[in-house]
Amino acid sequence: MEINEKTTFEAWKSAINAVMRDGREFIDTNSRQCKELVNLKVEVVAPEEDVTKPIDFLNESDKWVYPPTDEIENIVMTRRLAPAYNYSYGPTIFNFQGKVNQVDDFIIPLLKKDPVSRRAIISLWDPVAYCDINNKSVPGLISMHFRIVEERLNVTCIIRSNDMFFGWPANIYQAYVLQSYIAKKLNKEAGSITTISLSAHLFIDQEDDIRKVFERR
């Protein structure tokens, strides 16, 4: 299924509605009842207009505390592993296995040299660390693909397991932050963000909360 919206908030809302309407029900490995759409593609054409709006919406509830945007940004941009997290994206992106800075030493020089390149891929899945059947603490965001189209830097993110209500707003913001960083270095505008959620899911016990959040609009 594909969703294409101009703004982040509309894309989020459409994705949630799609999962609630068409998702198949199943029980996950943590015994939670879920609704899931497989391989859901969501394209946000102009994320810069309201990329934090879903986060702002989630922040309005006093039932939970959503991570602050600086912490969400930190996770993807900090190059050293903050010890209080089981894993974080930043070190994998900027210092993969202590050997490769995938952004500054690859993506940016590659797209500078060859703006139409289709090789600008960041990998966040480390088989050495994560191919262990007992290890459940593995990243959801597993790769990002950057392409320059009509002078705009677009990004496509592959997310293997995506909680569309709580997780997607943070993921889109993380993608936007990294996209903006690279776009600035390339002297390009930040373009669209597309997420392909291999498992786009919601939890049945979230349905009331979801309804309350959208009723406020």
């Binding site: 939970w64 969400i72 010890p83 974080s88 995506n162």
Partner: protein, 538 residues
């Protein structure tokens, strides 16, 4: 700008949110001088004149630095935040969170900036004295307590350095687990020197250290030596070092000779004898200024199975907030609002944890170095604390059962909140740990708590155990131990005549008859070893 002032301000530039004592500032600004003085004073092989010179140098550098600190206070750049024990002064940057200041004087320029601190949505409660942060100036950038493993250290010098370094990153207590491994490996004289040095260090930094002895590992042929070593506590009488015996009832019974002598030593020195009953709880217990600390039992089993021999130390507690329950119900009355308050406190702790996570490498530098290469695992077992003061136990005109039931249900709600937050963070690609434990607060947590409404538990002898009231009190305490998953302690003020065999039997009775994980026999009120019961009237 004077060079010394520049060095002082550089320390604050690197630690903008910290409250630093004169001693802290000297250690950071003039590390080689500080190290030299430490060696001169603490090295047991020095002669008297070297030690005396060291003390003089210490005094001299303190006076010099204090002079410049006072000038910076006069200039409005620093602020004297408080005076600690023994007149130690503590300083903070005198700029608001989020503010930035450039100081320029005679070709030297320094930029000072204080980052935003964790906003605490509990202002009205704080103003009324109902809610209190533990050590407000350092409650974000320091952990409350950590546990170090004794067998990871080769000798006392090595351990002392680690403790001293970790004092800069914690604001309450360092626990030394399995200390018996080091105790039985090193020579007895070295233990005495270590305790003396540690005493001074604890006083200088205003921190506590707990020495935990697992009786299982004590070798029979070493026991006489160990008893001799304990006598250092009589000599030094440390205010900030506590010894905790980790023992099962059976082991306690089997080691009568050891404990009879330990009771003698501790009662003579008017110290507290702390016993952690391993039949009731396997996890270690720590005693800090804020209260008692411990780990979750399931977490502890995981730690023992996979990490015990790999990690030099682990974080025990991150941040603590206390509620003065008596004051709350005096001023506000509503049970529903009390429930909402506790949830707000949990949310505040989450915010603090967020800051600590983002800046863990900056705030806890020494601890991260200690934990390498497993710094991620360092935080795997830590919790935050909600502590209660004057919550109803042994308080006349209060209904402890009502309070117990209310706190029990709030605890469940907070556990659900913590689990949900972990799930939210996980779904955002930020898998982390957020746990909150409940415990009672000690008086030392905050000097402005409401006046103690509960009576202390005095025990004069075995007869007390037979009284109905005494049994009810202990049974109630058992329930509180269940409620306070962050750890609790039952403290008996031992009065009356002191007879080691009688006290041994009392402790044996408690261990065999009650599910109380942490027992303290406080000999502090004993005026002499042969005072009669009638000398003490409530």
């Amino acid at each position: 700008m004077n060079q010394i002032e520049y060095e002082i301000l550089t320390v604050f530039k690197e630690n903008p949110e910290s409250e630093l004592s004169t001693f802290d500032i000297i250690s950071k600004a003039f590390p080689s001088e500080a190290e030299k003085i430490k060696i001169e004073i603490n090295n047991e092989y020095n002669n008297k004149s070297t030690t005396s010179e060291g003390r003089q140098s210490k005094g001299k550098i303190h006076r010099k630095v204090l002079y410049h600190l006072n000038r910076l206070v006069e200039d409005g750049i620093l602020k004297l935040s408080r005076e600690g024990t023994k007149g130690h002064k503590y300083f903070v940057l005198n700029i608001k969170p989020g503010e930035e200041v450039i100081l320029e004087k005679r070709y030297k320029k320094i930029l000072l900036k204080k980052p935003e601190t964790a906003a605490i949505p509990l202002e009205s409660y704080q103003k009324e004295g109902i809610v209190k942060q533990f050590e407000p100036a350092t409650w974000v950038d320091r952990l409350n307590s950590i546990l170090l493993q004794g067998w990871n250290f080769e000798d006392y010098n090595n351990l002392f350095k680690v403790i001293s370094d970790s004092f800069q990153n914690i604001n309450d207590v360092v626990g030394l687990d399995n200390f018996e491994m080091l105790l039985q490996k090193q020579n007895p004289e070295a233990f005495g020197a270590f305790i003396k040095k540690l005493c001074i260090e604890c006083d200088d930094y205003g921190k506590k250290v707990n020495i935990i002895i697992d009786v299982t590992h004590l070798k029979k042929d070493k026991l006489p030596e160990i008893v001799e070593e304990m006598k250092i506590f009589e000599e030094v009488n440390p205010a900030n070092i506590e010894m905790i015996f980790d023992v099962s009832a059976r082991e306690f019974n089997q080691n009568y000779d050891l404990f009879e002598q330990v009771i003698d030593i501790f009662s003579r020195s008017k110290l507290k004898l702390n016993i952690k009953n391993r039949d009731v709880a396997e996890t270690p217990y720590l005693i800090g200024k804020a209260g008692v600390y411990t780990f979750d039992e399931a977490d502890w089993q995981l730690y023992k199975k996979f990490y015990k021999y790999k990690l030099k130390g682990i974080a025990c507690a991150q941040a603590s907030i206390a509620i003065d329950v008596y004051k709350y119900f005096q001023q506000r009355k509503s049970a529903k609002e009390f429930r909402d308050l506790l949830l707000k406190v949990a949310k505040t702790l989450l915010t603090v944890n967020s800051l600590q996570r983002m800046k863990s490498e900056e705030y806890f530098k020494n601890l991260m170095k200690l934990a390498e290469p497993m710094s991620k695992e360092f935080f795997m077992f830590s919790r935050n604390y909600i502590r209660l003061w004057n919550y109803g136990w042994k308080q006349p005109q209060s209904d402890p059962k009502m309070m117990f039931e209310m706190v029990k249900s709030i605890k469940e709600e907070i556990k659900t909140f913590c689990d949900s937050e972990e799930t939210i963070y996980l779904s955002c690609g930020m898998p982390t740990r957020f746990k909150v434990a409940f415990g009672p607060a000690f008086r030392e947590f905050d000097k402005n708590f409401s006046e103690m409404q509960f009576s202390r538990l005095q025990i004069n002898g075995m007869d007390d155990f037979r009284s109905k009231e005494f049994k009810e009190i202990l049974n109630a305490k058992e329930e509180l131990f269940e409620l306070f998953d962050g750890g609790d302690r039952i403290r008996f003020l031992r009065t009356g005549s002191i007879n080691a065999e009688a006290i041994f039997n009392e402790i044996m009775t408690i261990m065999n008859s009650y599910k109380l994980a942490f027992i303290c026999y406080d000999f502090g009120s004993v005026k002499g070893s042969d005072l009669k019961l009638t000398s003490f009237l409530k």
